[in-house]
């Protein structure tokens, strides 16, 4: 019979202390980070490839070794012991320290890249320069702050992905999903665009294009410089432009219909990828209150309205008035946008009224705001005020949503608000996919009859702040537009109550009390009265 291992400090205390190996790997990881920090303070490393490799290797070994030291000797299963006792994961001192540090990093990255050593006139210095050798090897160009960030971002998803897989190794869904996220980040967001840049030359002027980053998440995809780049790159460029358009209108609806928005948000997307891997220790910090849900719906849908108007205005600004040069002129384009929106809105109001219930009002408000915006563009364009506004709209969006929301708040505040703040409150792509998921998808989380004991693990560990228990304890399926299908609710449920699945859309929403265990007459009575 094996004995309990006393590898923690005092017995009888919640295990908070780090053991020897955990400390060792923590130090190793911090040393790797220290190299990056020294580089940012302009310490000029003589052999850059060596020091960069050293830094990235020790960060990776630190994280992977740390994972081994916390999960390696444990049996498969849920690993949430002590989550709410640890300072870092329960709003303690370390959480604030860590949160402030990443926030500072993001502020510098977005707004003061020169402090990281970025220099577009002469050679890079500092941290960005440390990444020059790697950038030359991939794309043939010097590094930018975005290359440096992309490298660290992808590396985080890879090494924290390994940690995540170790933690959830009892679940094949989690393993496969995480491998997918790791693959799409490394290949699509990191390597392929760099190689594409390498191909660029006289005949090819492809913009940096992460193929999995779809409008409206990729809000700048249809800006003039990018369209010019695509159109000046022959067949490849045209194919990429067309791919960008059909990803929104064809690929996205089909995949969301079949699998729910999880195909994107927790299997492909880079923001989701970071949240699921590096952000996993903070998933339980999301706000579950009803008020948070209310704010979420207002904010995220306002972002959709904002991005739609902004993109329309930007495209409108570089199109011609004249149809003789090109069939797509300013007014054809506006009419086109208005028709698509009207079609979608009409279809929803006629065929999906039941499912929408009171949200229909909000949908209508959003629709009419956009339409009025389009009319305004049509009539008031030309006066200089409005011309100016397309650009103002774009820069405001890029600043508020693209930088502050998705970066500084989205990641910087991981230890405070949880890992999916951006995805939940800010991401227009998630909102569009969520709209489809809610109204037109086979995906749902099925609740298993009367087995729920209302324990609250599902709600606590939902990174999107969905009160899963509120549905499960009533025997209702969970059909929420915000659900990204990470599957953790089904992992932490101690009674086998939840199952993510794609099934026939009929009977997907079951708003009645269908709890099993009661005799049929009583349930009939309850359902009729309701």
């Amino acid at each position: 019979m094996s004995r309990v291992q006393y590898n923690m400090a005092l017995s009888g205390q919640p295990p908070q202390e780090l053991n020897f190996w955990q400390k060792l790997f923590l130090v190793l990881g911090v040393l790797g980070l220290a190299i990056l920090l020294l580089a940012s303070f302009n310490l000029n490393f003589p052999n850059k490839p060596l020091w960069l490799s050293l830094s990235l290797t020790s960060i990776s070994l630190g994280v992977i070794g740390f994972s081994w030291s916390i999960y390696g000797d444990k049996y498969k299963g849920v690993k949430n012991d002590g989550v709410w006792f640890k300072s870092l994961t329960s709003h303690g001192l370390w959480a604030w320290v860590f949160g402030v540090l990443i926030t500072i990093f993001y502020v510098v990255l977005y707004f003061y890249p020169q402090y990281l050593g970025l220099n577009s006139e002469a050679e890079n210095t500092g941290l960005v320069a440390l990444f020059d050798p790697l950038s030359y090897a991939l794309s043939g160009n010097p590094a930018s702050q975005w290359f440096m960030y992309g490298t660290l971002y992808s590396l985080s998803i890879l090494i924290f992905g390994i940690k995540f897989i170790w933690k959830y190794r009892h679940s094949r869904y989690e393993i496969i999903r995480t491998i997918s996220v790791m693959f799409f980040q490394t290949a699509f967001a990191f390597i392929i665009p760099e190689l594409m840049a390498r191909l660029n030359g006289e005949h090819l002027q492809l913009p940096y294009y992460d193929l999995k980053s779809i409008w409206p998440l990729n809000y700048y995809n249809f800006e003039q410089y990018r369209i010019d780049g695509f159109l000046n790159s022959g067949a490849i460029g045209l194919a990429l432009l067309i791919f960008g358009i059909i990803s929104i209108f064809v690929i996205t609806p089909i995949l969301t219909y079949k699998y729910g928005k999880r195909w994107y948000c927790s299997w492909v997307c880079g923001c989701g990828g970071l949240a699921e891997t590096a952000g996993d220790p903070f998933r339980h910090l999301s706000d579950k209150r009803q008020i948070a849900w209310k704010i979420e719906r207002w904010v995220v849908h306002s972002v959709v309205v904002f991005v739609t108007l902004m993109t329309t205005a930007v495209i409108y600004s570089y199109l011609d008035y004249d149809t003789s040069k090109y069939w797509l002129n300013k007014d054809v384009f506006l009419g086109f946008v208005a028709s698509i929106l009207t079609l979608v809105f009409g279809w929803v109001m006629i065929f999906r009224r039941q499912e929408l219930q009171e949200d229909a009002r909000y949908g209508a408000i959003g629709y009419f705001v956009i339409i009025i915006g389009l009319i305004a563009i049509h009539f008031f364009w030309g006066n200089s005020l409005f011309l100016f506004q397309a650009e103002t709209l774009r820069t405001t969006y890029a600043f508020l949503i693209g930088s502050v929301f998705s970066g500084v708040i989205g990641v910087g505040f991981y230890p405070i608000f949880g890992s999916r703040v951006w995805c939940r409150f800010g991401c227009p792509m998630a909102a569009v996919l969520g709209f489809q998921q809610r109204l037109f998808s086979k995906f749902r989380i099925t609740t298993n009859g009367g087995q729920c004991i209302s324990c609250g693990n599902c709600s606590t560990y939902c990174e999107m702040g969905i009160d899963v228990r509120a549905y499960a304890q009533k025997g209702e399926n969970i059909i929420r537009s915000s659900c990204v299908g990470c599957g953790i609710c089904a992992e932490v449920c101690p009674r086998g109550v939840l199952k993510l699945e794609n099934d026939s859309p009929n009977g997907r929403i079951n708003p009645k009390d269908v709890l099993l265990g009661n005799d049929v007459d009583l349930m009939n009575y309850v359902n009729q009265k309701k």
């Binding site: 298993n448 004991i453 609250g456 086998g496 199952k499 099993l516």
Partner: protein, 433 residues
């Protein structure tokens, strides 16, 4: 509009309150001494283990109660005056009711051991027990748990997360012998032992020995063994919390005696949940059921009666679930812990992956009457339909896939189960011939 007073804010009492509000305009007061708000009792263990904070165990936001006009009162009721329909709290406050629902739940069943009142001896039922356990855990090196059942294994798992050595005294030859057949009892026993818990079988508690501070120093077992420990967990079951109702006109036995409409012998007084005892047996169910969902159903049922639609408590097929460290357990219908005349069974297990299914059926008619599942999730709706239809066991085995509720991409075992069943049938036929 009458005043409905509910004593107890557990799942039974709260469900009753919610449903009475759904169907009526009565004034509703829920009284509890344990905690202001309703919380999930089975979730207490996760608070101790650091998976959740206590507030996460509360299924409704604090504003819910006011919004739904359910008055919450924190008080301990000492005396019930059934004649003048009056409750008297420990502070001497009087509360008058028109209708009374007793949903007082359970307390730990101390069996009268010598030393059971020492410091460091406790059960785990109430929130206060959890707070006590948290205090008792400090400087605790070795804990003894008496009883191998659901509360026993919960305590073991909890203490294990704080690196406390745990020894469990188990009356039978395997874990939870009163409910689990020997096959799965052994499977779970092995699983627990592998996690480092010491299991001592066929042994009960004889007495608890104090130190000079009146704290637990050691225990003596019925086999005469002494075990040094600083804490003893009593997990030999719970009993209805009805001591404050003794010597009243209310008829009680183990619990408060109720008819099928959950009414007691006193008009306008009902009892639901763990504290109620059925006069008439319902199927194979026990007369006192201390289970989460039966409390819920009784709450729904009594609400109907109180709102003018007299309804009998009529639970359908038995089901339950639990988790033993990392093995999930679900049960539907009846799988008997000991072989029973007229019933046959089919057991399948994958010992390496710790998966098992145990089917019970009537020997002659071949009708399916129950299943235990370990490490495999089953769809309640489907299995419930099989039980209601009394499907023949062969058909159940054939349709197993329909009942699979495992997560997507999970390893599939059901084909193996079907093959094993065909094989066992073939062998049985040989024996019969």
């Amino acid at each position: 509009m009458s005043h409905v007073v509910i004593i107890g804010n557990g799942i039974a009492g709260i469900t009753a309150a919610r449903h009475i509000r759904k169907f009526s305009d009565n004034r509703i007061t829920v009284i509890s001494a344990e905690n202001e708000y309703f919380f999930s009792r089975p979730a207490l263990m996760y608070v101790y283990m650091g998976h959740m904070k206590f507030e996460h165990t509360q299924p409704y936001e604090n504003s819910f109660w006011k919004k739904n006009r359910i008055e919450l009162k924190q008080a301990y009721i000492n005396i019930v005056d059934f004649k003048s329909k009056k409750l008297i709290s420990a502070e001497g406050e009087e509360i008058v009711y028109d209708k009374l629902i007793l949903a007082t739940g359970s307390v730990t069943h101390f069996r009268g051991w010598k030393g059971q009142d020492l410091n460091g001896v406790q059960g785990l039922v109430a929130k206060q027990d959890l707070e006590l356990l948290n205090n008792n855990s400090e400087n605790l090196n070795h804990a003894v748990i008496v009883g191998g059942g659901l509360i026993g294994i919960e305590l073991a798992e909890m203490l294990h997360t704080r690196n406390i050595e745990v020894t469990m005294l188990i009356r039978e030859s395997h874990f939870w012998g009163s409910v689990l057949p020997i096959e799965e009892g052994k499977l779970i026993s092995n699983h627990i032992e592998k996690r480092g818990i010491n299991l001592v079988f066929e042994t009960e508690l004889a007495e608890i020995i104090p130190d000079s501070d009146n704290r637990v120093k050691s225990i003596k077992t019925t086999t005469g063994k002494h075990i040094d420990c600083q804490w003893v967990g009593i997990a030999t079951g719970v009993k209805p919390n009805i001591s404050f109702l003794k010597n009243t006109a209310l008829e009680t036995d183990l619990g408060i005696l109720v008819n099928r409409n959950l009414a007691t012998n006193i008009p306008d007084v009902y009892a639901i949940g763990d504290c109620a005892q059925q006069c008439e047996p319902i199927g194979h169910r026990k007369s006192v059921e201390a289970v989460w969902y039966t409390g819920r159903i009784m709450g729904e049922t009594v609400a109907q009666t109180i709102c003018g639609n007299p309804t009998a408590y009529n639970p359908s097929n038995w089901f339950n679930s639990a988790k033993f460290f990392d093995i999930e357990y679900q049960t539907y219908g009846w799988v008997f812990s000991k072989k029973k005349e007229g019933y046959s069974d089919f057991y399948w297990q994958d010992a390496k992956n710790e998966r098992a299914l145990h089917f019970q059926y009537e020997t002659n008619s071949k009708k399916f009457i129950g299943i235990n599942a370990f490490g495999i999730r089953l769809r309640h709706e489907i299995v419930d339909a099989w039980l209601t239809e009394k499907l023949p066991i062969e058909k159940v085995i054939l349709q197993l896939q329909k009942a699979n509720f495992d997560k997507e991409f999970s390893k599939k075992y059901l084909k193996k189960v079907q093959q094993a069943f065909q094989q066992s049938k073939f062998q049985k036929n040989l024996v019969d011939e």
